[in-house]
């Protein structure tokens, strides 16, 4: 076994896995609380990236401000989608599949809209330090480090918010016992808004790092969101740490397949494992978790 290759792949796996973990937590928070299969999360992700890029192009904003703006914009987009199409469709019909279709429709419109506005060309986000560092034979960039740190900061932050604040506990209340949550006077609508805002902001932040590593493009979000879905199902719906673990596992698996086969197959193999898990243990690796 090539130890140098292993080390490099592990590090890359951790970087990718942290990104996946944060995306998984961001989606899992929304899905476990509202039970909405929020496919438009991909659009939220992508709009965060575009908001950052365009604010550097249109207003000449410095890169850190742009990233902040991108994160905030993503939160707004998420809230708008929840308050608008989702709320309207939920009022109209009780079948949950209809909200999923609404999410699908929003994704279709949003992605095409972005292409019309900004064309399909890749748009980078310049200005962030791009130094490469190395530890022995392993190399990684500043972006890698910052993204890992921020990803886990977000995850821990969300876990703290949910577990330790009264408001956060009202999210748990709505998730685990909606009847009782209503009984103590918790407004479900308010809680939905909070989780959409927090989850969308987190996705928007992660989108910044994906853009920094490559560029923004209209279809960039779908892949990450589908992986987030799978990570949540892998780790057990309702568990923040489960989702994070699921994301981390998928990232590591995707990279470590490079030990045996062409790295191109990495994503496919990760997906194939998810398929296997869905078949064998549909409740997820950690089962129906509590927190």
């Amino acid at each position: 076994m090539n130890l140098e290759l292993l080390a490099q792949l592990l590090v890359s796996g951790v970087v990718l896995g942290s990104l996946y973990a944060a995306m998984a937590v961001s989606f899992g928070l929304i899905y476990s609380t509202t039970r909405i299969f929020h496919l438009a999360h991909a659009l939220v992700f992508t709009s965060g990236a575009y908001a950052a890029v365009m604010s550097t192009q249109w207003f000449g904003a410095p890169v850190y401000l742009a990233m902040l703006l991108g994160t905030g914009f993503a939160a707004l987009v998420g809230l708008a989608i929840q308050a608008g199409p989702y709320a309207i469709v939920e009022r109209r019909s009780t079948e949950s599949i209809n909200v999923f279709i609404a999410a699908l429709a929003v994704s279709i419109v949003g992605t095409a809209g972005l292409e019309l506005l900004f064309s399909a060309t890749q748009r980078p986000l310049p200005g962030f330090p791009d130094a490469t560092m190395s530890l022995g034979s392993v190399t990684f960039t500043v972006v890698d480090v910052v993204s890992v740190v921020l990803a886990w900061a977000c995850i821990v932050g969300v876990a703290w918010f949910i577990g330790r604040t009264t408001y956060g506990r009202s999210v748990t209340a709505v998730r685990t016992n909606p009847t009782m949550a209503t009984a103590v006077g918790i407004s479900r609508r308010r809680v939905y808004q909070v989780v959409f805002a927090v989850g969308s902001a987190m996705a928007g932040l992660m989108a910044q790092f994906v853009t920094l590593n490559g560029a923004a493009s209209p279809t960039m979000g779908l892949r990450y969101v589908l992986i987030a879905f799978m990570a949540v199902f892998l780790g057990g719906i309702g568990s923040i740490w489960g989702a994070a673990l699921g994301g981390m596992s998928l990232g590591l698996v995707t990279m470590l397949t490079g030990l045996w086969v062409n790295l191109d197959y990495g994503t496919a193999i990760a997906f194939a494992l998810v398929i296997l898990m869905l078949i064998v243990k549909p409740q997820g690796l950690l089962g129906r978790a509590t927190v």
Partner: protein
């Protein structure tokens, strides 16, 4: 043998001294008609119980009054109409609701549960004060303050649920089958505590139950609900003289 009361019984028209006034309540789940023109009232400090067979619509009635269930008819509390679908407003107005099953948050500790019970209170200090007051009222809540609620026994969970209901300083408590899931010996105890609370704090209670004798012992008045309609109203004293209720269920 069975009391043939096919039309809803004529109950006294709700007076202006009533704390809660529900008139002509109707409710359905899709095509299923569950409540048909239910009218009842609760006066301040009174314990009123609604009895009836399983599926008569008792839970739906409480939910309709609380506004958690779309309803026809009107509900007036302390002179003001109650909204539907706005639990925050209803709890703030002074009504608490305790469901029949899982009346607590199983994954959270006793203290966390209580804090959520008072989530509509505007200030943290207010919540803190209430919490301390309730711990005095129910020592259990202090002894087990960090215990995860789901690990407690059924009776202990019921006590917690009462504490949660009291956190928001209600003037009317809506209790759905508080005897459910508790050993018969404990039922006496818990019902006694409900009566004491009502008398001690001038709290009105609307109690929905299947355990007839236990509720009648603490109630002032009783309504009988059958197949979505009130078929009879009487004082608890009069009800207790009955040998059985086969003809009312």
């Amino acid at each position: 043998m069975s009391t043939d009361t096919s039309a809803a019984a004529d109950v006294k028209k709700p007076g202006s001294d009533a704390l809660l006034c529900a008139e002509g309540i109707t409710a359905s789940y899709g095509a299923r008609r569950v409540l048909e023109g239910v009218t009842l009232e609760v006066r301040p400090g009174e314990v009123v119980t609604v009895l009836g067979h399983n599926g008569a619509g008792k839970t739906t009635l409480l939910r309709a009054i609380f506004g958690d269930q779309p309803r026809g008819g009107s509900v007036v509390f302390d002179g003001k109409r109650l909204p539907v679908g706005d639990p925050t407003a209803v709890v703030r107005a002074g009504i608490s609701f305790t469901p029949a099953t899982t009346p607590i948050f199983r994954q959270l500790t006793v203290t966390e549960n209580l804090e959520l019970g008072g989530i509509v209170l505007r200030s943290r200090s207010e919540r803190r004060d209430q919490l301390l007051a309730l711990r005095e009222l129910f020592p259990l809540l202090l002894e087990r303050k960090d215990q995860v609620a789901g690990t407690m026994s059924g009776g202990q969970q019921r006590v917690l649920s009462l504490g949660m209901a009291l956190m928001a300083k209600p003037r009317l408590m809506l209790l759905d089958e508080p005897s459910l899931g508790i050993a018969p010996s404990l039922v006496q105890q818990i019902f006694g505590q409900i009566r004491t609370l009502s008398q001690g704090q001038g709290l009105a209670v609307l109690l929905v139950e299947q355990n007839v004798r236990a509720s009648l012992r603490i109630a002032d008045r009783v309504y009988y609900l059958r197949h979505g309609q009130i078929i009879l109203e009487e004082s608890a004293a009069a009800a207790q003289t009955r040998e059985h209720w086969w003809d009312l269920f």
